[in-house]
Subunit: 201 residues, 4 copies
DNA sequence: AATGAATGAGACTTCATTCAT
DNA sequence: AATGAATGAAGTCTCATTCAT
């Protein structure tokens, strides 16, 4: 029984992510989603109370991957703080390249009809407390070890995370960019960030 | 007399920017805009052929300010490259603080049904060739003078600009942040970026 | 139970035909139709994807009668070709008298914005291959039997069918004509057509 | 002065006929017409009180040609009644081929928004009393001379005229038909009609 | 004679949601 | 757990027409 149900609910989540990825947040309509899943529009309401809840679920569902990847990267004992930062950047960008619209839905939206809806999601996920806390810890660690110049780790985290989001956004928008150039860009970004972290005034 | 009616077209642009600012790109409907301006929906079509054209006009109208501010900052002869970068950051952030959703409309949207419309606008403005070229020049100049470590100035520009966009986005979203904290964040951002530019491996 | 609600879809078709009949092809608006059926405009889209599909359905629905009547007439074994022609004329005219605007919608419209939609329908129905083929056969038969003078049966069919359409159109337009006069006109039409078919140069 | 005015008014009529021809009766909007003439929409109202009056004027303007051609044909002293009928058919068809939508607007319409508007025009023009009277006279003449079998000439006229309209309609609709085939069709039509007129029971 | 601005009505269509079955 | 039917609101846009200038 659980299997049966899971099928539909999970299918909705998957196809929903797909719709979101292909058509953006406006393209995710109950009608289309129902058709894509092969089920009536009304059926979706059996599984999710709202479009809001649906959206939240889709996002949480898809976002989990990034979070666990990031966690793995940031908690890897065998890497230096600088390496962790660099790997986190790559993990983040890879996620964005795989699901650009999921990314956009979560991190960049707070306009559109789902604005206020997503807002709460953003608070839950966008800030991503847990991951963020880990990132702060990595920076603190680096500063303690002398790898990074001393500074407020939370502020640094915020600044870098925001920068990373900006980079990701640009890359998500310009999907047609040559992979080569893209890698150079990412590399330069890492260089600047890590340079900035190490730089002493 | 001219003052009384305030030109309607300009009014549409202003109220349109306001709607865009308050409700995002989808919230900008002809219906609402008409009501806000105090005019019938159809009247808007006297002044703008399309929603697309309207959007383009609103954005260009509002975006002009930033471009000219940036130009002034980046072409100021009496400042060092590093100072120019810092001032550009502040100019950008100030613009975002004044018109957060104008910013969001232009820079963060890009796919979906209504978004292909914006796409061309983005190409015109988002890339913002002219300003961007000036930014590249500032970095080149800094590298030539030895203020910045040598690196590809275009790549560096792209990376920094994307980062700046990310910071701006975060600030735009979290408008309720305390000004104090905000300034610290901006300052830390500048420090990291400028540090990164100066850092030699 | 089924009777009570009367199927809505069928109701839409019927009221749609009525609207079409009373107000022509442009008068058939979703708004009006919804109101006439006693249902919201949106409800119509539950049953027909488009105005185009709706139109097609209405026409096919109403047109079926004529086709089957014509078929019965033209395949009646016990009548001479001339009689078949005469009966077909009367059947056609009777249909037009019963549903004058259904007829008009199908046969007289064909260009303009809304009309390209009808175009395909016209190809399906207007040409009415099947019925038309039967008509050709009747003429061939008559020529073979010597009832009609030898001539290209397809060309003759086309000419007569077009003429019949013209007559029908006139009658549809001038609905107020006295039945007596109308019958005389139809009779004279048959006489000319049949005379023309029998006439040898 | 008259010249100046004539220019605009006549231009409206001409471009109006063109619009009517290209886009059908729905395509003839004041907006488009104004643009086509190179004048504001409102300007049209300086010359014509209504869309109705405009339409009437366009039709009358364009229809004049047919009427005078038909008059010339039907009053040609040097031709037999049969020849006159044949020539009238060709004149009519040629007119339709040149201005198919003018034809449609005048003779086939009585649906659409302009329905009731055109109706009155139809009474004036569609029946085309004068021309029609001449046609009756030709038939009478033919019957008197023994070229045609005796019959009610008015009834015959009506039947033939309606048939001709039907033929014209078919030809107007299927504009892509090969000229060769078209001519054969017209010829066969003439043969049937003339045969029917001459046939004695 | 002409224009620019505006209007009110109406066009088709899509949306999220509800409800009886 | 699911469906088919329906709804009300909203979306963009076009139309014929009016009016002050």
């Amino acid at each position: 029984m659980e299997n049966e149900e899971k099928n539909t609910k999970q299918l909705i989540l998957e196809k929903g992510a797909l719709l979101l990825a292909q058509q953006g947040i406006e393209g995710l309509s109950m009608r289309k989603l129902g058709a894509l899943v092969g089920v009536s529009q009304a059926a979706i309401y059996r599984h999710f109370a709202n479009k809001e809840e649906l959206l939240r679920a889709i996002i949480q569902n898809g976002y989990g991957r990034l979070v666990s990847t990031l966690r793995a990267v940031l908690e890897n004992e065998y890497q230096s703080p600088a390496q962790k930062v660099r790997e986190a950047v790559y993990a983040y960008i890879n996620f964005v390249l795989e699901s650009p619209d999921l990314f956009k839905a979560v991190l960049l939206q707070d306009s559109g009809p789902a604005r206020q809806q997503v807002h709460s999601v953003q608070k839950d996920i966008g800030k991503n407390r847990e991951t963020f806390a880990m990132f702060i810890k990595v920076l603190s660690e680096g500063m303690a070890k002398g790898d990074f110049a001393p500074a407020d780790p939370e502020l640094s985290s915020l600044a870098i995370w925001a920068s990373l989001t900006g980079l990701a956004s640009r890359i998500a928008v310009e999907r047609s960019i040559a992979p080569d150039l893209r890698n150079q860009l990412i590399e330069r970004f890492c260089a600047i960030i890590l340079g900035g972290l190490q730089y002493k005034y």
